[in-house]
């Protein structure tokens, strides 16, 4: 799995970490039952505080995507892939709704893109 962090973005690092993992699950790169790197090793590799990694892992645990067990480490739960698929489906629905709303107001796809880009974390 590939985990990418950019400290220059306004999004907190632990949220970027969680997003990287969710993206990996969505693309199938990370499978259910797969073990994620240990928090200390990952923090050392990414040159971030170990608490940043733990916070990211805990966030994913709260979302039901990770199982954190002493000695075993962070393991992707069995329902994580479905959870993420459902989230993607919700995104697709939201995009569809946004497209409808934009069309009603006579906006082009380009106009809609500009609107989307404006609010995006950078």
């Amino acid at each position: 799995m590939l985990i990418r962090l950019d400290p220059s973005l306004s999004l907190p690092l632990y949220e970027q970490l969680a997003a990287s993992v969710r993206a990996g699950i969505a693309s199938g790169e990370i499978e259910a039952g797969e073990k994620l790197p240990g928090a200390r090793e990952l923090a050392a590799s990414l040159a971030v505080n170990v608490h940043t990694v733990l916070r990211g892992y805990n966030l994913l645990r709260e979302e039901g995507l990770l199982d954190l067990r002493r000695g075993r480490g962070a393991v992707v739960t069995g329902q994580a892939p479905q959870s993420i698929s459902a989230e993607r489906a919700r995104l697709a629905t939201a995009v569809g709704a946004a497209q409808d709303a934009a069309r009603r107001l006579g906006l082009t796809a380009e106009d809609l893109s500009v609107l989307i880009r404006k609010g995006y974390p950078s």
Binding site: I3, R4, L5, P37, L42, S45, L46, A47
Partner: protein
């Protein structure tokens, strides 16, 4: 002092030395016992430890000579190796095997000195253990004594496109590799056969071999491969064995398709003596795509892992960063 061309003469002489000395010393010692030993001498023991095969002293001497010749042949092959690692492996294996056989023969024959009848001597597990210890010592001396040289890395194809990384971005690529079905089946069979033998022959010390097999396998049952700004690290699940390739020592990164049995002769931490990846070594837990790295000291390290392409791309990006180049 390391040269860039193989010091063939020095290498061959050093490699030949131990098998040669071991054989000569064993022959001298064996023949000096001529008057003490029964005739014929016991040379084979069956299940249960009783002697069931006998040989003349001359026959044993011939055995020592033949073993010595084979060991010397292996040493000569070591002198013609393409890489220092292969030279060390061949020299160590040749020397170790000759010393083991010689030690075992001397110990088992020496136990019969002063006896009138060879049938009275029964096999002792200590013979094998001592033989193995001597063989390992011989192999170790050979490996240390053999001269090394700065090998030119094997030709590498065009590298992967480096992963585009923003200047403020930090990325880590991590993957777990588990032993394939074939490799695991081979080890499981070996353990089962060893355990069955242990029970059938009641040579309980054989279970130590089974235990060792299990331990070595468990250590490499799964490994974690990590690419981060410092380079490539591979770690067994018990923490050892581990390989660290710092990015500043990496000269090239590429992906290769590996067929475990064909290219490396098996599974585990392997060394390729022949074939398209000759001279390479690394974790080959199953067949498939692998990240291949060459280093400044001429080593070629291969790590089989799924999605090797992404790992290689990120490693290439870090390598270019290190050398000051810009990612494509």
């Amino acid at each position: 002092m390391t040269t860039t061309t193989r010091p063939t003469v020095r290498l061959t002489v050093t490699a030949v030395l131990i098998p040669l000395l071991a054989t000569v010393a064993s022959l001298v010692l064996l023949l000096s016992w001529r008057d003490d030993l029964p005739d014929p001498v016991a040379s084979h023991w069956g299940l249960g430890g009783a002697a069931d095969g006998f040989s003349s002293l001359t026959g044993l001497a011939w055995l020592l000579a033949v073993v010595g010749l084979v060991g010397i042949a292996v040493a000569v092959a070591a002198g013609r190796s393409g890489t220092p690692a292969l030279a060390r492996t061949l020299a160590g294996t040749g020397a170790g095997t000759v010393v083991f056989i010689d030690a075992l023969l001397l110990i088992s024959t020496g136990a019969q000195r002063g006896l009138a009848d060879a049938a009275g001597v029964s096999f002792s597990a200590w013979w094998i253990l001592s033989g193995v210890a001597a063989g390992l010592a011989g192999a170790l001396v050979a490996v240390i004594a053999v001269p090394s040289w700065q090998a030119t890395p094997a030709a590498v194809g065009p590298g992967p496109d480096a992963l585009p990384l923003g200047s403020t971005e930090r990325a880590v690529w991590s993957a777990v590799v588990s032993s394939g079905r074939a490799g695991t089946a081979v080890v499981a069979t070996a353990v089962a056969v060893t355990l069955i033998l242990t029970v059938v022959t009641r040579m309980w010390w054989l279970s130590a071999i089974a235990a060792l097999l299990v331990l070595v396998t468990a250590a490499m049952l799964s490994i974690r491969v990590t690419v981060d700004p410092s380079g490539l690290q591979v770690r067994g699940r018990l923490g050892w064995p581990r390989t660290t390739l710092p990015v500043e020592q990496i000269t090239s990164v590429s992906t290769v398709q590996v067929r475990a049995l064909r290219d490396f002769g098996g599974w585990g931490y392997r060394f390729a003596a022949t074939g398209p990846l000759k001279g390479s070594r690394g974790f080959v837990l199953h067949s498939g795509p692998a990240i291949r790295v060459t280093t400044v000291d001429g080593r070629s390290e291969v790590t089989v892992v799924e999605d090797a392409a992404t790992g290689a791309a990120l490693l290439e990006a870090y390598r270019l960063r290190q050398t000051g180049g810009t990612a494509r």
